[in-house]
Amino acid sequence: MAVDVKGGGIVDTDEGAQELTPTRKGMEAKELLREVGCVLRLSEADAEALEPGPDDETMIINMGPQHPSTHGVLRVMLELDGETVVRTKPIMGYLHTGMEKTGEDLTFLQGPTNVTRMDYASPLFNELVFCLATEKLLGIEDDIPARATWIRMLLCEVNRISSHLLFLATNGMDIGAVTMMLYGWREREEMLRFLERITGLRMNHNFIRVGGIAADLPPGWRDEVLGLMDMLPPRLDEYDVLMTGQPIWRERLQGVGVITAQEAMALGATGPILRSTGVPWDLRRDAPYLHYDQLEFDVICGSYGDCFDRYAIRLNEVRESIRLIHQIVDMIPPGDYRIQDKKVTPPPRARIDESMEALIHHFKIFTEGFKVPEGEAYAAVESPRGELGCYLVSDGSAKPYRMHIRGPSFFHLQCLPHMMRGGLIADGVAVISSVDPILGEVDR
């Protein structure tokens, strides 16, 4: 099941979760985190006021919030000894959008428009997790039409590819491979165009809705998606030549930013970061949602927990997604693509003209939304970055009483100090890049 990524190709091994065995019994933070001192606990104001005294051997330097390698507006405060990173403090909040607050102000119907803007590299996952949580609250999670579920999976896998392509592009850029950046965008653009043809928007689709999806797939989608899946593998092979096989590339990434499985789990890391340490943790397999349990795919695992593993995992996950999409395309059944529940789904347009009741439903749903019974629910999906969760509390009205999104990047940023310690600045850049943080999801 676990896949060795070191060789560049996919090699089946039976190593599995070798790092999982040691128990964490009785290990507190101080023993567990080999270097508690790697986190720079210095408030921003203090850092500003800090004047380099004559006895300072280290200097404090701010990377960001406007810095080319911090992927948006992450600010990383580094304590440097020469060029060696000693302590680090990731500072976030520069993109705090108040989405959780806004989410409480929007109805469940409008909700997806809000959450989709969180992890803007993989918007469909946000919509999906919000809808899954809402459906759980509504108690309709088992009644979603199969077609809707499969289409959701198709779109999500396409989105996962585009998100990983974004990572490959920016990772290439951060390591200095300019062309890789452009190749990544080139391929990603094809993905976006495919999504645009389906959803009408290139990003922030608002397409996955509570109870199903907004519209059916357009004609020709099958050829298109299969065409894309044919186009990608040779391109991925090119990336392998350009980067994976490139000695400079390997030198830059191998053994850089190492994190162990225990640390990663203790820090709440999920997704490629956890998998890079050898833990085959993938919600699609471990806690199957949608219909992932009906599909055959491998969970890509690393073994060293370094930047190269994280890069290779993502590259090979694109291949896995292609494999998944090939299966999904054949599985999409006919039928409804939205739950036929008058409470949740607006009536068909044609019915508005014929039935007063439908018209009233239409008005009610679009003016006040649909009411969701009291309760709380948490849903999680495996986004390209890790476990993306949505915690919803409803007080019985049409708006969430509390909406909270658990963004994987938010937790991954905590790993930065541990990964960056002892490396050079250039390593730090590689580490930030390999974490692939999307700040929209971090700051929400």
Binding site: P65, H96, T102, N114, W185, M203
Partner: protein, 196 residues
Amino acid sequence: MKILGIDPDLGLDGADHNLLTGSLEGLVKWARQKSIFPATFGLACCAIEMMGTGGPHYDLARYGMEVFRASPRQADLMIVAGRVSQKMAPVLRQIYDQMMEPKWVISMGVCASSGGMFNNYAIVQGVDQVVPVDVYAPGCPPGPETLQHAILTLHSVIASGELTHRRRQTGAGAGIQVDQRDGQTAGATPVTIGSR
């Protein structure tokens, strides 16, 4: 497009008042249009689209704009791509101040232009409260074509603008000052806007 102050369609008839100064001015404006170095200033979703516009399918390089400068000192254009939070606003202003004249600002996307759908405590409701904006690109996020349209609009702004001291007042932006902290749920009456 005028080259050296002379419109190729009009020939010398279209030349500016004084051939020498006119042509110099034309050259400068032409150069400023053709060589805009944007600052790498990405905030959110729009930044992804901005980078996508730099990608092969749209190719900002055609406008001579692929030279994204990480240092604001060397940049001419700040594309505010994404929502500006209250925490980011001072940083944004600082970076703007670090840019050298002549400098331009494109407010890319509705979040930057007005806060977009995030009409709340955390987001600056329009980046023009912080920096003066030359071109607004609507959309959430604006597609690459919209951004390119905004860039072309900016070209015409440059061509028609003053050569020097193009912005006397750099302190405030559009003059819309909204105190958001005690703002309550939307009032019934929207306000009219001030314009730039």
